[in-house]
Each structure stands twice: as C-alpha cells, then as structure tokens.
C-alpha cells in the first residue's frame, strides 16, 4: 500500500453496542501534522470513534488506517490519552511511575526500567510542568495535574499520532493552557493530534482541523470550512440557533449557553 500522506483514514466504520449502532458509516481523512478536534453532543460517539480507531472496541464494519496501514501494524506510532475518569487514581503509585508506563513496550518484557528511562519520564513530566510532583502519590494530585500526568505518559511514547479523550474535561485554567501549549508544540513538530473536545467556544481558537460527529460524520476538514453554523445546527439539532451566520458566537451569554449544550 502506498503512503497517501494521511495520518488517519477511516473508511465506512460502523460500531454497534448490542446491535445498536453508535457510529454509522464514518468516513474520515486526517492529514499529517494537524491539531484536530472531534466535537459533537453527548452520545454522539466521540469516545467510541477514538476507541474504535485504536481497536479497543470492535468495529461491526469498516477499516482504520494509520499512516496508510492497518492499525495493528502501526501500534508503535500511536499514543493514547484515555479519559481521566477511566482509572482508579487511588492505585498505589506515583506520578513518575505512571509516566514510566508509557515506556514499558520500549523497555520490553521482563526487563525493569533503568535510569535512562527514568530520566526520559522526568523530562516528559517537566514538559507538562509536573516535574515537582514526580514522587507524589497520584490520588494526591488535582484533576488537572492528573490529566497532565496522563499527557506526559503519552508524550514519553514519542508517537506520531495522538488520540486524546477529553483532555480538557474538568481541568483548571493553568492546566488547559499548559496542555494546549504542549499540543501546539507537538503539531509544530509534525505530529498529528486527534482530540475529543467539549467546549465549542474554544474550538476555533485551539484547533486547525475539525470533525463534527453525531453518530454520523457531519463534517470533516479545515476549521474554517467546517466550523459553520449550518454544520453545527446539523450536529446539535436546532439547539444552536444563537450562533450567527459566520459561525461566531456573538456575546458572553451565548458562550455560556454553548458550553451548556456542549457539556
């Protein structure tokens, strides 16, 4: 198969839970080096799309290609940041240890992490501004700090394409700024980032590529072409009437509303 320059290509993907489709016939093309948001209402299948792309949930039909090859052959290229709520943070371990987990494949079976790997993990913690918390038991970190530890764990994998499930959910402003700065750095280094996002009013500020999802794929492309009131209306139903023609949100009141709808 020849390289078509796409970081991620999804063809005719359908995912069903108990025969009830959660994703219908998704076609998606994401070029390399973009920072893409997946946006859509609750139950739109945003997390499922990521999980199906990573092979964590089985597809009823369709195909996922990462850098032009099936996912199973490309796992080394992929980094994953799960939802923060998906693990028990009372697990007996510290922040550095969690980041080290990102290197386990590289370290290999049976062998233990050594100093070099520890240094890499520290460096990664440093990138997300968490170096001071390396020894902290993870339950003693704030939500935003936990999210940054998860990000550091994915960074240390040095992947080419990152899938992130709601990295901005429930984090403080400091963390949001830190995360978006890291994401931009990664994109500028040529990596591809695919991010499930909730907050409509930061979409055009943070991202340069967008997928609007509501069981079907409503739109997929550069942010300027896709972030339109027409597309949003199709994605969210009639509930986004306050968005003006050019897709901008006119005032603070509707900003709050947009958050409410997207939340």
């Amino acid at each position: 198969m020849t390289d078509n320059g796409l970081a991620l290509e999804i063809r005719d993907l359908t995912v069903a839970y108990q025969e009830k489709p959660v994703l219908w016939d998704i076609d998606l093309q994401v070029p390399k080096g973009v920072l893409m948001a997946i946006v859509g209402p609750n139950g739109a299948g945003k997390s499922t799309l990521i999980k199906a792309a990573l092979g964590l949930v089985p597809a009823a039909a369709g195909q996922v290609l990462i850098h032009s090859r099936p996912y199973l052959q490309q796992r080394g290229l992929v980094g994953y940041v799960p939802q923060r709520g998906s693990v028990d943070w009372d697990f007996p371990t510290n922040a550095l240890d969690v980041v080290l987990m990102g290197l386990y494949r590289q370290i290999g079976w049976i062998r233990r992490p050594r100093r070099r790997e520890r240094e890499m993990a520290m460096e990664s913690l440093n990138t997300v501004g968490m170096a001071d918390y390396a020894d902290r038991q993870i339950s003693q970190l704030s939500g935003g700090q936990q999210q940054r530890v998860f990000l550091a764990r994915a960074l240390v994998q040095d992947a080419q394409i990152y899938f992130m499930d709601e990295p901005f959910a429930g984090v403080d402003a400091t963390t949001e700024r830190a995360i978006i700065a890291v994401l931009r750095q990664l994109r500028d280094a040529g990596k591809t980032l695919i991010v499930v996002h909730h907050d409509l009013h930061t979409v055009s500020e943070y991202f340069d590529w967008l997928t609007l999802l509501n069981v079907r794929c409503i739109a997929n492309g550069p942010i300027d072409d896709t972030f339109t009131s027409d597309n949003l209306r199709q994605t969210y139903g009639g509930r986004v009437a306050f968005i003006t023609e050019d897709g901008e949100l006119p005032d603070d009141r509707s900003r709050t509303d947009s958050k409410l709808i997207a939340a």
């Binding site: 510290n94 494949r105 049976i110 992490p113």
Partner: protein, 371 residues
C-alpha cells in the same frame, strides 16, 4: 510457653510441615490477592474458591485417588471454569459482574455439596476426608501437600515477578495497556489463572468458604501502610505468611480447632489494626487530620473576622477574646483551641484580653477572602 512453641516450630516434624504449608499459601495468596484487590476482583476470588469444590469432588470420584496434586488440579480446573464463566458472561451479556459472581458461586458450590454428600454415602470412600475442604484442616497436611502448595505457589509468584510491569499496567489501566499493543485478554486470563492457583493451593488448609479472605484481607491491610505497589505486594505476602503460621500453631495447640477460621480471625486482627492506626490512611490519622483542618479553617475565619473589625468603631468589643464565643457561635473549648492555634502560628497576638492581627495574620485573612 513461647519458647515451647518456637521449639516445636523448629523441631516438631508435624508442626513444622504444617507451618511451612500455611506460610507458603499465605505468601502466595497475599501476593496474588494484591492484584485481585487492585483490579476490583475481590469477589471473583470468593467465586473461584467456591467453584473449586465440585472440582475436588469430581477429581476424587473419577480417580478414587486422594493425591493432593490431583485434587488441587481438579479444584483448579473447576475454579478456572467458574472464573472464565464470570468474565465471559460479564463481557458478552448485559448481566453485571455481581450477578454473574453470585450465580457461579452458588451453583458451583451447591453442585460441590451434592457431590460431597454422595461421596460420604459411598461405603468405600467414607474416610476420604474431603469435607476438610469446607473449613480447612491444617493438622492433616502431609509433606507432599506442602510440596504441592510450595511448588505451585513458587511458579505463580515467579510469573508475577517476571511480568511485574505488565501486570501493574494491566491492573492500573487496561484500555491503555491494550492501546500499546499488549495481548490484554491473554494477560488477563493469565493473571486470573495465577489467582486461581493461589486459591486452590490453600483450599485444603483454609477451606473454600473462607479462602477468599486470604486473598483480600492481607492486601487490604497492606494497602493501608504504603502508597507504592512494590512494598504493598511484599507486605501483603508477609502478612499472609505470618497469619498462616500463627493459625497453624494455634490450630495445632487446640484440639478440633479448624485452621481456616483461626487463620482468618488472625487476619481480621491485622486488618483491623491496619485500618485503625496506619499513618495517613488510618481512621485515627484521618480523624486527627479532619480535626486539624477544622481548626485551621476556623482560624482563617477568625482572622477574617478580626480584619473586618480591626478599625471599626466597636473594634474593642469585637476583638475581645471573651466575646468571640458569642459572635462566632463556637463552644468554649473550640474557641480556646482556635485562639491558641492562631497565636502559636503567629497570626495574631494576645494583648490584655484582645486579639490583634499581626502583619502575617492580615495577609492570611486577605488571601483567604480572595479564594
């Protein structure tokens, strides 16, 4: 008395054998139990233990042999089947894990009891002594029983040591583990199989009814004392081995005392003490912390109160220590404690019956208000 016990432990052949056996099973179940607890599979252990009973009975019925390895094998197969059944049902159907556990536990155990009754009625097999699998009887442990326990236990523990990273990752974040390309399902089945081994080697000594306590209790106690996985697993294994030996000794000293309940009673003691007095996570430490936080918060409230009334017309009245109780509606003892705290921490000074904020106290109050 203590000297005698120590002497027996070293030189009494029977007691030494039994103690070695219970130590080996305590160590194994303590180590594997840590993972079971962290993976929220405490109850799976209970289902496995109960599900193992028909395996023991069937192994005996089919072969007529009482060879420990054979009975343990039968127990392992049945326990494993039960575990796979629970995992399969949970994954494939809408039935939740607790329901699947309940069904497996009672159906397998009931079937096992039926088989035991049949065996007991058989004239030739009446002395099979399989009923010791219910509550455990350490006194009947023979050298080859101990060898079976120790042998299987060391295999299980060795695999845990070799796959330490992978099991840790799997226990903490299975989805991420899978995204990295690990064969998660196979690792999951392997770890569960090791748990099954840890359980079945203890059945003869502790019994199916109480075996899950040997899995869960040491881990729960060990978690109290540390925030790292390595020390937790080590400590859990140590607790298991220790109460195993203690239970064996006691059970040997007192006639007709079943080993399982004795060991579990000791283990409960360890858990209770750990729950109460462990630093940080213990109940006592938590109560103390909560009390300190209450005083700390009250001190902040008091600095704000003092700041607000510092320059007012009724400042003299509002800052008088005797009036504090009235204004802030604190009882006398609490008000005194807060006053003491605020003075010793340099937030305010006590001068002729009044509290006056220091510069540091003013700063603290302002910071507290802007939060």
């Amino acid at each position: 008395m203590l000297g005698n016990i120590l002497y027996d432990l070293l030189f009494d052949y029977t007691l030494r054998t039994v103690a070695l056996g219970t130590a080996a099973l305590g160590l194994t179940s303590g180590i594997l139990g840590s993972f079971a607890v962290l993976r929220k599979q405490s109850l799976l252990g209970d289902a496995i233990a109960h599900a193992a009973l028909p395996g023991v009975a069937l192994a005996f019925l089919l072969t007529g042999s009482r060879d420990p390895l054979l009975l343990v094998l039968g127990a392992a197969l049945a326990g494993w089947l039960g575990a796979l059944f629970v995992m399969g049902v949970t994954r494939q159907t809408r039935i939740k894990q607790d329901a699947a556990l309940g069904v497996v536990l009672s159906v397998f155990f009931g079937f096992g009891m039926v088989l035991l009754t049949i065996i007991q009625r058989m004239p030739t097999a009446s002395k099979a002594g399989l009923d010791r699998f219910l509550f455990g009887q350490a006194a009947t442990l023979l050298a080859r029983d101990v060898l079976t326990t120790a042998g299987l236990g060391s295999i299980a523990v060795t695999i845990v040591i070799l796959l330490w990273k992978e099991f840790k990752l799997l226990s903490f974040d299975p989805a991420y583990t899978q995204s990295m390309g690990y064969p998660v399902q196979r690792l999951d089945v392997l770890l569960t199989t090791l748990t099954v081994i840890a359980i079945v080697v203890g059945l003869q000594t502790v019994g199916v009814v109480l075996m899950s306590a040997m899995l869960v209790a040491p881990a729960a106690a060990a978690r109290q004392w540390t925030n790292r996985l390595e020390p937790m697993v080590l400590l859990s294994g140590t607790f298991g081995a220790l109460v195993g030996v203690l239970g064996a000794i006691t059970s040997a000293q007192v006639a007709q005392l079943p080993t399982g309940p004795t060991i579990v009673l000791y283990m409960s003691g360890v858990v209770l003490v750990s729950l109460m007095i462990a630093p940080e996570r213990g109940v006592v430490a938590q109560l103390r912390r909560r009390r300190r936080q209450r005083v700390q918060f009250a001190a902040e409230v008091l600095t704000i109160h003092l700041l607000n009334h510092e320059s007012g017309t009724n400042a003299e009245f509002e800052t008088a220590i005797v009036h504090l109780q009235q204004h802030l509606q604190w009882d006398k003892e609490f008000a005194q404690r807060v006053t003491r705290w605020i003075v010793t921490n340099g937030l305010a000074e006590r001068t002729d019956g009044h509290l006056r904020l220091t510069a540091y106290g003013r700063e603290t109050a302002r910071r507290a208000m802007t939060h």
